[in-house]
């Protein structure tokens, strides 16, 4: 009678000690999930999601305070990746209009140099009183620059489709 009680108690004590030790040694600083989401984000801290930078948005998404598709720079693909990681479904309503990039309308640009100071990836180039231009490969389409432009010369446009990146439509199946 006494043997099982004692042995179970001893086992419990040992496991308790191991668990207590592991909790101290292998403790995770911060939320691992948030870190994982931060890694997926564009990392440009553009602020277009209205959260303080990409890390702020990541923790808000994990807490459920922000939608998984709140990042304009990441677009549909990031939203899908985050949704898959968190195991939530993307609402069909949030249809993506496709990736966009900033385009400077040369006839209205006054060369005020405000937009390129706002760009988180230095994608807008130019100087004071010179017409600015956008480096296509560096632009994430976050839209930070469009808020700064006093004349509305910079706007987000869909990336033009070329032969290289054109793709077949997914064919419809039998109804």
């Amino acid at each position: 009678m006494l043997t099982p009680i004692i042995s179970v108690m001893v086992l419990g004590l040992i496991f308790g000690l191991i668990l207590g030790y592991a909790a101290k040694v292998f403790a995770v600083q911060g939320d691992a999930l948030v870190a994982e989401i931060i890694e997926m984000m564009p990392g440009t801290n553009c602020g277009q999601c209205s959260f303080p930078g990409c890390s702020g948005a990541a923790s808000a998404i994990v807490k459920g305070e922000a939608a998984v598709d709140c990042c304009p720079g990441g677009g549909r693909m990031l939203a899908e990746a985050i949704a898959a990681r968190l195991g939530v479904s993307l609402e069909a309503a949030s249809e993506d209009s496709g990736p966009k990039i900033a385009v400077v309308s040369e006839s209205i640009c006054i060369g005020c140099a405000k937009c390129f100071k706002a760009c988180p990836t230095d994608a807008v180039i130019g100087a004071s009183k010179q017409i600015h231009a956008v480096l296509k490969d560096a632009c994430t389409g976050c839209g930070s620059c469009t808020n700064e432009c006093p004349t509305g010369a910079i706007s987000l446009e869909p990336i033009p489709v070329t032969l290289r990146d054109w793709n077949w439509e997914k064919p419809a199946l039998a109804a």
Binding site: P42, G43, T44, N45, G73, G74, G75, M77, L78, P99, P120, T121, D122, A123, D137, A138, C139, T140, V161, T162, L163, D165, W166, N167, W168, E169, K170, P171, A172, L173, A174
Partner: protein, 501 residues
């Protein structure tokens, strides 16, 4: 294993009941007169587009270099006849999207004046590098349709010490007979090209695989190759897609090319018969690739047959030459299985174009798809050993990663699965879509890594600038303090100095 596999040793693929190759294949080769306008695209190959060397208004001669190769994997472009450069700009590409691409438009003058070509008496006295150089300068690319530049391919073969050349005379696509035509009419050129290529690659033998539905071509090639023991003409069963390099290699050598690897890694190099003929012209006669044999075929064509046409001729001019007996319901560049449906006829031909089909409505009957009945016909037909029905199901469920893991990348887009599907499912389009989507995601990932770096660099720069500003302010402050201290010391010292003096 079915009876067919027991008899022929080939279990995969399909065999269309009527391959529609004749009567076009039996009509003697015709030479197309120079059209009034030619549009020569700058990207007719795998790799970087060629860079134009001429300006609008320049006079060009036949065989003149008009655009130079850019980078290692690229090919130059030459003028097919003499004339004046009318435009350098965009024309509709032979692509299902109907998007434009860059081309040089030449208004021909009908004089057909040529530059002088540098001929070589004995190509076997040249070093392999010199031959590769001549092949590269002639702008030769794989004419079977893959359009990989031939010079880097030969160099790759030498690097991998390829021992056997596999010469592809399969031409398995229905309707097409341009390779058949070149083997029948120019067999000596083909065999000479094979020998030159063997010398360039360092291969000791060559096997020419020709489908057994081309007895005339087999006979002509055997005759041309009879003096060369190292070249073997091998009839292979007519089975689509025999013209695919992996399938031809498997039938001719019994070896299987590993997934994702090139044939060179197992000591083989595959080249098309038309490419070999072009190599003969380039190395022996110094003649660049500016024309090729194009099959003009289909129910709507009045006089179907093979036509020696300049590269860059508009499809409408080619069809006008062959004549149309009815309004075509669909225009296709290439064969009916893997060809490209053209948006309209104002599209130029390219180096890789072996045929133009003008098909009637009866030839392209489209049946709406019905649900998959899991009969497994596609599994049996797939020459790459894939499971098309499962791939399709994964893709339609949006799981591209699983489709990729199931070997989507090995898919040739040959169309056998869709051809045999009793439910008429659009399998090839599904796979093409998925491949494009996977590519796009990979590009997007690269891009986001790049922008992340940029953002980080900017952050560091801003921090550095802020730090430098603070340091500069501190320096100025210290300087000012030092100046003030010095001034104060001077003030204090002056009277005492004066007192001392």
């Amino acid at each position: 294993m079915g009876i067919r596999e027991l008899l022929t040793g080939v279990g995969w693929g399909v065999h269309p009941h009527d391959d529609h190759k004749r009567p076009a294949a039996d009509v003697p080769l015709r030479v197309m007169p120079t059209p009034a306008k030619l549009c020569i695209p700058l990207l007719q190959h795998v790799g970087a587009p060629a860079k134009p060397l001429v300006a609008v208004g320049d006079r060009v001669l036949r065989g003149q270099l008009i655009a130079a190769a850019q980078g290692n994997v690229s090919a130059p472009v030459h003028a097919p006849t003499s004339g004046r450069v009318a435009a350098i700009g965009e024309v509709t590409a032979p692509h299902p999207s109907g998007l434009p691409f860059a081309a040089i438009t030449i208004e021909t003058d009908g004089l057909d004046e040529s530059v002088s070509f540098k001929t070589v008496e004995d190509p076997f006295s040249l070093t392999p590098d010199e031959i590769s150089q001549r092949i590269a300068e002639a702008g030769i690319v794989g004419l079977g349709g893959a359009t990989f530049p031939s010079a880097p391919k030969a160099q790759l073969g030498r690097k991998h010490s390829v021992h056997t050349l596999i010469i592809n005379g399969g031409e398995c696509e229905p309707y097409l007979s341009s390779d058949d035509s070149i083997m029948r009419e120019r067999a000596d050129d083909v065999i000479d090209g094979v020998r030159i290529l063997m010398h360039a690659v360092g291969a000791s033998k060559a096997k020419v695989g020709i489908e057994d539905n081309k007895p005339e071509a087999i006979a002509a090639m055997r005759k041309a190759a009879q003096d060369f023991a190292q070249i073997e003409i091998c009839p292979v069963p007519a089975r689509y897609p025999m013209g695919s390099d992996r399938q031809l290699v498997q039938v001719l050598t019994g070896k299987e090319v590993p997934s994702g690897a090139r044939t060179a890694t197992i000591g083989l190099l595959v080249n098309n018969v038309s490419t070999c003929a072009a190599i003969h012209h380039a190395v022996r006669h110094g003649e660049p690739l500016y024309r090729r044999i194009v099959t003009v075929n289909g129910g709507a064509v009045a006089q179907p047959g093979n036509v020696l046409a300049p590269i860059g001729v508009l499809v409408e001019d080619l069809l006008a030459f062959a004549g149309l007996k009815s309004e075509p319901a669909r225009l296709v560049m290439g064969g009916p299985m893997m060809g490209v449906a053209l948006p309209h006829a104002q599209v130029p031909t390219v180096k890789g174009c072996g045929g133009i089909l003008a098909l009637t409505a009866e030839e392209i009957t489209v049946v709406p798809p019905s649900p998959c009945i899991r009969c497994g016909s596609c599994v049996k037909a797939c020459p790459m050993g894939l499971v098309p029905l499962e791939l399709s199901a994964q893709i339609h469920a949006g799981d591209y990663d699983t489709a990729d893991a199931m070997g989507l990348d090995d898919c040739l887009a040959c169309g056998c699965c869709a051809y045999v599907c009793p439910s008429q499912m659009p399998l090839v389009q599904t796979f093409s879509h998925a491949k494009g989507e996977i590519w796009r995601r990979a590009q997007q990932k690269k891009r986001s890594e790049f922008t992340k770096q940029l953002a980080q660099a900017r952050q560091e720069r801003l921090e550095r600038e802020a730090r430098e500003r603070v340091e500069a302010a501190a320096r100025r402050k210290a300087q000012r303090a030092a100046q003030q201290a010095a001034a104060a010391a001077a003030d204090n010292n002056t009277p005492s100095e004066g007192a001392g003096a």
